[in-house]
């Protein structure tokens, strides 16, 4: 079986190639990139006017399965992922049970394997039950298939436990990916500490609750040989701390989220629970700092922190509402609208932040369009404008602050190992 995608503007970040090319896919693998002529073809796809990029790699998602399947299942989660153009996702361990045991890893892997539409890699818990007290069986989890460790959702407040986790996992060559929030400072805060929060009478989560513990953890990691990866960086002070740490040659990487470089804390007006996310939407200067960090190239990944919730979890007061944004189905469009269209970075760089860079950061062979690799490819109509309608989400989580907003850039098709796993709308597309 040979499929040829014709005339797409192809972006191949691993070889820094961008330009018009045909892509030949044979038996699930990329056979050829360039002018495809003189061979037999089973199926031809005219991608004139579209961009072909590697399937996106998301190193930070929540699929809620097992345990919270009213919010999402591995099925709905991965369907939403491929609709968003993702073909590789890493799921966080705050499920029930927590991913702190081999059986849960097996369960997740098996379910994804049966679906066969997207690569799914579990991230194991650092501590048992994410309680922050005892280390989980990190070696067993790694052997079972965990590609990183995290207690995401909660910070590892105990500095010594973190230090031991870093040392214990040193030889595994996988990062510890940390949710950074000093709980003593953030306490019962629900949104960014800002004027809007003050007016609404909502408790704030100040920037320093993030930046101070990032600084602490960089120091702890520096005393080990481990790779530290910082999740969802939101505050300008955190970016500054990370910039310095990188300049000093520390083995530290970090990711940023679409909502943190596109939306400000003004979104919480009217007690909008869909804008409640942790870390919170920050001020304008923080949004600009995240954008600058992306422009300067010090960011290692753009990830979604896809955090689906059922309606009841958001249909309540701001204090009771769950933190989180359903992110898969708007991720690329937000990147395109708020970074590429605004001239902060080029499209090829944007693709790199969503594909090859995160894969490399996690030592994963993914996120490239290269001959011999799996044909994980996304076709994008980068000029297509659309209004976000949360009720059209494939994800069970319809919780998005982008509802009603106009975005530019739509996923047209997603291929996973050569198989068309998502087919979107496109005017006149055959």
């Amino acid at each position: 079986m040979r499929i040829v995608i014709r005339n797409a503007y192809t972006i191949a970040p691993s070889s820094s190639f961008e330009g018009f090319a045909d892509i030949a896919i044979k038996d699930g693998y990329i056979e050829m990139v360039g002018d495809v002529v003189g061979i037999s073809i089973d199926k031809e796809i005219d991608a004139t006017g579209l961009v072909a990029a590697p399937g996106f790699v998301d190193v930070h998602v929540h699929l809620r399965d097992p345990g919270f399947t009213q919010k999402e299942t591995i099925e709905t989660g991965l369907q939403a992922a491929v609709k968003g153009g993702f073909t590789t996702v890493f799921c966080m361990p705050n499920t029930k049970p927590v991913i702190d045991n081999v059986q849960t890893v097996e369960y997740i892997k098996n379910k994804a394997k049966m679906l066969d539409i997207c690569d799914l890699y579990p991230i194991g818990a650092i501590s048992k039950n994410e309680d922050g007290k005892e280390l989980s069986d990190m070696l067993s989890l790694h052997k079972a298939g965990c590609v990183a460790f995290s207690d995401d959702g909660v910070p590892v407040m105990n500095a010594e436990l973190l230090r031991k986790a870093l040392i214990y996992s040193e030889d595994l060559n996988v990062p510890l990916t940390l949710h950074e929030e000093d709980k003593n400072i953030s306490a019962d805060g629900v949104v960014n500490e800002c004027e809007t929060a003050f007016r609404l009478g909502l408790k704030g989560i100040p920037n320093v609750s993030e930046s101070s513990i990032i600084a602490r953890d960089i120091e702890i990691a520096r005393s080990t040989d481990a790779h530290l990866h910082i999740c969802h960086v939101s505050a300008k002070e955190s970016i500054e701390v990370l910039r310095k740490a990188k300049l000093d040659g520390n083995n530290v990487t970090f990711e940023v989220m679409p909502h943190h470089f596109s939306l400000t804390d003004k979104e919480i007006e009217g007690y909008n629970t869909y804008a409640k996310v942790n870390p919170p939407l920050r001020g304008e200067s923080d949004v600009e700092a995240v954008q600058s960090a992306i422009a300067s190239g010090i960011v290692d990944a753009i990830a979604t922190d896809h955090a689906p919730h059922d309606e009841d979890s958001k249909r309540c007061t701001m204090q009771k509402a769950a933190f989180g944004i359903s992110g898969f189905e708007t991720a690329f469009a937000v990147v395109n609208t708020y970074l590429v269209e605004k001239g902060i970075i080029g499209l090829a760089d944007a693709v790199n932040f969503m594909t090859y860079k995160p894969a490399k950061t996690f030592n994963l062979d993914a996120g490239s369009i290269d001959e011999g690799k799996y044909a994980n490819i996304v076709l994008i109509d980068k000029n297509r404008q659309w209004n976000v309608d949360r009720f059209k989400f494939v994800s069970k989580g319809k919780n998005t602050p982008y509802h009603g907003k106009k975005l530019k850039g739509l996923i047209v098709k997603t291929f996973y190992r050569g198989k068309e796993v998502y087919q979107g709308e496109r005017d006149g597309f055959v």
């Binding site: 004027e195 007016r199 009478g201 009841d312 007061t317 701001m318 009771k320």
Partner: protein, 298 residues
């Protein structure tokens, strides 16, 4: 046409002026309000302890000829795990004429109002607003001062956690007050968040040339020991006593007062014509009658 009473920030200046004038009119003659709530049923739901606000709302309704149905939160379905959304839908289906709600979450009345057509009256939400308190304060100010515009007002206490202070930020804008805040720095908002109020730098300045000083109840239970080391220290540096209380300034307090913390017993008991605390409570009933009339009779 029904109207909500969610917060001062959702009202126009003329709404507030009407509320104040109505309360004063009611205070002058019971003929003005006597049967205005005849055949009306008001549901009160208090998720937080309250003596005076709840009693005040109940008396106000009864004096207007209305009926009060009180939901005991401890025994309600909410306690059994019913969602707030379902509760308001069910209670609304019984067609009461208004809800009076107090809740520890800021924005709770606002949330309920999205799911019902029945007027929601905010009796205090978290640290956001306490609009009926603001109205009764204005009634009291109007009574003793004869005007509401261009007043010099200082609020002393835990501003960050005060719904009274937030409601008065809105009244200050409406009536062009010279409003300031004072208290321990850990209890003050950031300067850049509040363009309409200034933050005083010491007690002497805070008390200087003010028409009204509003004292707030200091609660040690909120983040105890982190915002404030002790009530004794507060009394010493931020409390009003016979030595520092200005003679010409009216003293107000939403109650209940911590005697000898924010206000000394001596001042409370011996400075009767300048201390308006009891008058505020008295006016509270008329202010709440005015609120009912605003919401139910339009």
């Amino acid at each position: 046409m029904y109207k909500n009473f969610l917060g001062i920030k959702d009202l126009q200046k003329n709404d507030v002026e009407t509320l104040v004038a109505t309360a004063i009119k009611y205070k002058q003659s019971m003929e003005e309000y006597k049967n205005l709530l005849k055949d009306k049923v008001i549901i009160t739901i208090f998720f937080e302890n309250s003596t005076r606000t709840r009693t005040s709302f109940e008396i106000a309704a009864k004096k207007m000829g209305g009926e009060i149905v009180n939901i005991d939160y401890e025994k309600s379905s909410l306690k059994k795990g019913e969602t707030d959304f379902d509760t308001i839908q069910n209670l609304s289906a019984m067609h009461p004429d208004a809800f009076v709600v107090r809740h520890y979450d800021s924005g709770y009345p606002n949330f309920l109002s999205k799911f019902t057509d029945i007027p929601i009256i905010n009796a205090g939400d978290g640290i956001c607003e306490h609009p009926s308190q603001a109205v009764l304060d204005l009634v009291t100010m109007q009574e003793v001062k004869g005007r509401l515009d261009n007043l010099n007002v200082c609020i002393i206490g835990d501003i960050t956690n005060s719904r009274v202070a937030r409601s008065h930020l809105e009244t200050a804008k409406m009536f062009n007050w010279n409003l300031s805040f004072y208290g321990p720095k850990t209890m003050m908002p950031k300067k850049e968040w509040i363009k309409e109020a200034k933050i005083e730098t010491n007690l002497e300045k805070a008390l200087c040339d003010k028409d009204f000083i509003i004292l707030l109840r200091i609660q040690l239970e909120r983040n105890s020991g982190q915002n404030l080391p002790s009530l004794g220290e507060y009394a010493k540096f931020f409390g009003l006593n016979q030595n520092n209380t200005p003679k010409k300034t009216y003293i107000m307090h939403p109650g209940p007062v911590n005697r000898n913390v924010e206000l000394s017993s001596y001042v409370m008991d011996n400075n009767k014509n300048k201390t308006l605390i009891t008058k505020q409570v008295e006016n509270g009933v008329f202010a709440r009658m005015a609120v009912y009339n605003f919401c139910i009779n339009g």
